[in-house]
């Protein structure tokens, strides 16, 4: 059976499973649509939240970014897990006690202001939509590969599938489907990593294999450092970038994680306040299974790829074009070339493909002596690394099919969760909460589905020319959530003094400044070519647009506190509300509307 058929079987079977579950658990009432009743156990909820949270960015993109940068991109690992500590300690239990369905509802009630609720809805929409763009980028890569079409066609097909599947059910359908998706995606991520770790180090646990010795008796990371520096690249384990930017970026991802509406929504659905605390822990357990494996996947893939291009060692001859074309071990290069995300070119016509860093001075000397005319691996999109990894390591066909299914599961589950957050913000907070308070339940569900369709159309359009790799686009979304939503939620719980004017001013400043900073660097509305600055040489010091969320959050806190000091303190009933949110006693079920 050829690989294409195998992929189809794996992807098809997993999809049949998700859609089957979605139909079986279709949402009937609005309460089920948003919060799945209340009968979700913390472990189940944790697993579903993990699937919801780990997206194309974590599954498809992150290990690739780590592989080609090394230590400096540990920021993704720390940032995307560290946020759960903030979520568990600062937000989840109190929002559960508050007992409403959506983040804007809390902000609107706590800051006794429909304007605050509206600003929260806008922040949520901006962050979630940016996030969906990142997902669509990943969906394009995955579909492009497994259907063997170019990236854009893959993206369009993916968009149709995501839509068809997200409109089926609300949270209830999505919760149980996401449990299935978690199982598929974690198996798909770990199984190839175990194989590769065994091949390279003999250790079946990839997280440990990363620090183990290779067959030659030398530690894997030392071998990797040696081999990449031989080719003029920066040492894998060393710190090269700007430390200040690294700190800010990590902080942005952490705060953003705790401010993402589709993740926070999850903690409204557990039965009790104490369950909200445990749920955050279980979620991180399931996330950590992938995140502890990811750095091993990155390092091992980098080693495998480099060794494939220099089969006799970095001081001998590079791999020949003939080998690439005839040796089955190099078949992955031909299949990935079709997606347009991988490219090589024998520039000097010596019949070999030299892969090295042509910007490094010492390599330019060697190149001049050997007659090389630049790096001949002209295009290697970081986002293909995880999906191509099992092929590069020559793993059996079923593993490759499984990885394709896993990558799609990751992208789909998050896209569905985000679309749910977007649709509930529009239908529940915007339409019912502001435009038409007397809308029927049916009308509310309909507006939710229309919002989903609009969101996916915009995301697909922008996903064709994404502002970065999947994980980088997603990082921008986190920055936006960090700058707008997290500070308002935290101050709403931990301060009785921050009032309506302060919160609105804070959110507007945080979101506004961050959006402008991102657009200045990534193009207005992410349209390529309309940017005035570049992340290589950013406007402020060394602060890249992906790291600006932490600055935006700081501005939000500062503005809210200063404006609140200058204006009247919140009325007594709001101060009582804050006090009641702080005490678990008397938490009821989550309720819709007013």
């Amino acid at each position: 059976m050829d690989q294409f058929t195998l992929n189809l079987i794996f992807v098809g079977a997993s999809f049949a499973l998700y859609i089957g579950i979605a139909i079986w658990a279709r949402a009937g009432s609005t309460s089920e649509f948003y919060a799945a009743g209340r009968g979700v156990h913390p472990v189940t909820n944790g697993m579903a939240t993990a699937a919801d949270w780990m997206s194309a960015a974590s599954f498809i993109s992150m290990a690739g970014l780590i592989a080609f940068t090394g230590y400096d991109n540990s920021t993704y690992l720390m940032g995307w897990t560290g946020g759960y500590v903030l979520l568990a300690l600062l937000l989840a239990p109190y929002l559960r006690k508050f007992g409403k369905f959506t983040v804007p509802e809390f902000i609107g009630d706590r800051f006794y202001s429909p304007t605050a609720r509206l600003v929260a809805v806008i922040s949520l929409l901006v962050a979630s939509l940016t996030y969906v763009i990142g997902q669509m980028t990943g969906v394009g890569v995955a579909f492009g590969r497994f259907l063997e079409v170019d990236n854009t066609t893959g993206l369009l097909i993916g968009a149709v599938v995501v839509f068809a599947y997200a409109v089926f059910g609300g949270m209830k359908g999505v919760t149980y489907t996401q449990v299935a998706q978690y199982c598929v995606l974690i198996a798909a991520y770990t199984i190839p990593a175990v194989f590769i770790s065994l091949q390279l180090t003999g250790n079946p646990i990839p997280a440990l294999g990363l620090f183990a010795d290779t067959g030659s008796g030398e530690p894997l990371l030392q071998t990797l450092d040696q081999i990449v520096t031989d080719l003029g690249f920066k040492a894998y384990t060393e710190h090269h970038g700007d430390t200040f930017n690294m700190l800010l970026f990590t902080l942005s991802l952490m705060i953003g994680t705790a401010g993402l509406p589709h993740v926070i929504m999850r903690f409204f659905t557990v039965p009790k306040v104490s369950d909200a605390r445990w749920s955050a822990g279980w979620t991180l357990v399931f996330i950590a299974l992938l995140y502890l494996t990811a750095p091993a996947v990155g390092a091992m893939a980098r080693l495998n790829i480099t060794q494939q291009f220099w089969p006799q060692g970095t001081n001998a001859e590079a791999v020949s074009v003939e080998t690439i074309e005839s040796d089955p071990a190099y078949d992955w290069m031909a299949t990935w070339q079709q997606t347009g995300l991988l490219g090589w070119e024998d520039k000097n016509g010596d019949g070999r493909i030299q892969y090295y860093n042509d910007a490094a001075p010492e390599m330019q000397e060697r190149a001049a002596a050997a007659g090389w005319q630049g790096n001949e691996l002209v295009n290697f999109n970081n986002d293909i690394l995880v999906l191509a990894n099992p092929e590069i390591a020559n793993l059996p066909g079923w593993v490759i099919g499984l990885v394709a299914a896993g990558g799609l599961a990751a992208a789909l589950s998050t896209a569905a969760g985000l679309l749910l957050a977007i649709s509930s913000a529009v239908s529940h907070d915007l339409v019912k909460g502001r435009i038409a308070p007397n809308i029927s339940e049916k009308g509310e569900l309909l507006s939710a589905r229309i919002a989903m369709a609009a969101a996916i159309a915009v995301a697909t359009y922008l996903g064709i020319n994404p502002p970065g790799f999947a994980a980088q686009t997603v990082a921008l979304a986190f920055g936006l959530a960090a700058a707008s939503i997290f500070p308002a939620l935290m101050m709403g719980i931990f301060s009785k003094r921050v009032n309506n004017t302060g919160a609105v001013a804070g959110m507007l400043v945080g979101l506004g400044v961050t959006v402008v900073y991102i657009f200045l660097h990534k193009g207005w509305f992410f349209v390529p070519g309309t940017n005035s600055f570049d992340d290589a040489d950013p406007l402020l010091f060394t602060v890249k647009s992906t790291s600006f969320g932490a600055v935006g959050a700081l501005l939000n806190f500062a503005t809210a506190i200063m404006v609140s000091r200058a204006t009247q303190e919140p009325p007594q009933e709001i101060q009582d509300l804050v006090e009641s949110v702080r005490i678990p006693r008397g938490a009821g079920a989550a309720t819709a509307g007013h």
């Binding site: 560290g82 239990p93 620090f211 530690p219 990371l221 030392q222 822990g281 009641s580 007013h594």
Partner: protein, 95 residues
């Protein structure tokens, strides 16, 4: 399903205030550890602990790629366990 959208206007008792400040204290301690392992050991303090080797590299690299995640997990479970005990101690747990 009972409806608790209207929060009963509870004035905070002395005990409730003590409960809250105990909670804030636990949060602060946890967040200090949170920042130390990630921003500290993983990034800024990495050179200071680089003399401790871990499988071909140093301890700071391990903290940045795996160690901090393990500590985060321990922190969340510790907090959940500690707070559930604190809830009972102050009698503020849910029925």
């Amino acid at each position: 399903m009972s409806d608790h959208t209207t929060h009963p206007p509870t004035t905070m008792t002395k005990d409730d205030k003590a409960y809250w400040s105990a909670n804030v204290r636990i949060i602060t301690i946890c967040l200090v550890i949170w920042a130390t392992v990630s921003f500290g050991f993983g990034i800024i303090l990495r050179p200071l602990i680089s003399w401790i080797g871990v499988g071909g590299t140093d301890l700071g690299f391990w903290f940045a790629q795996q160690g901090s995640i393990l500590v985060f997990l321990a922190l969340i479970f510790f907090y959940a366990w500690r707070m559930n005990r604190l809830d009972r101690q102050y009698g503020v747990e849910e029925e």
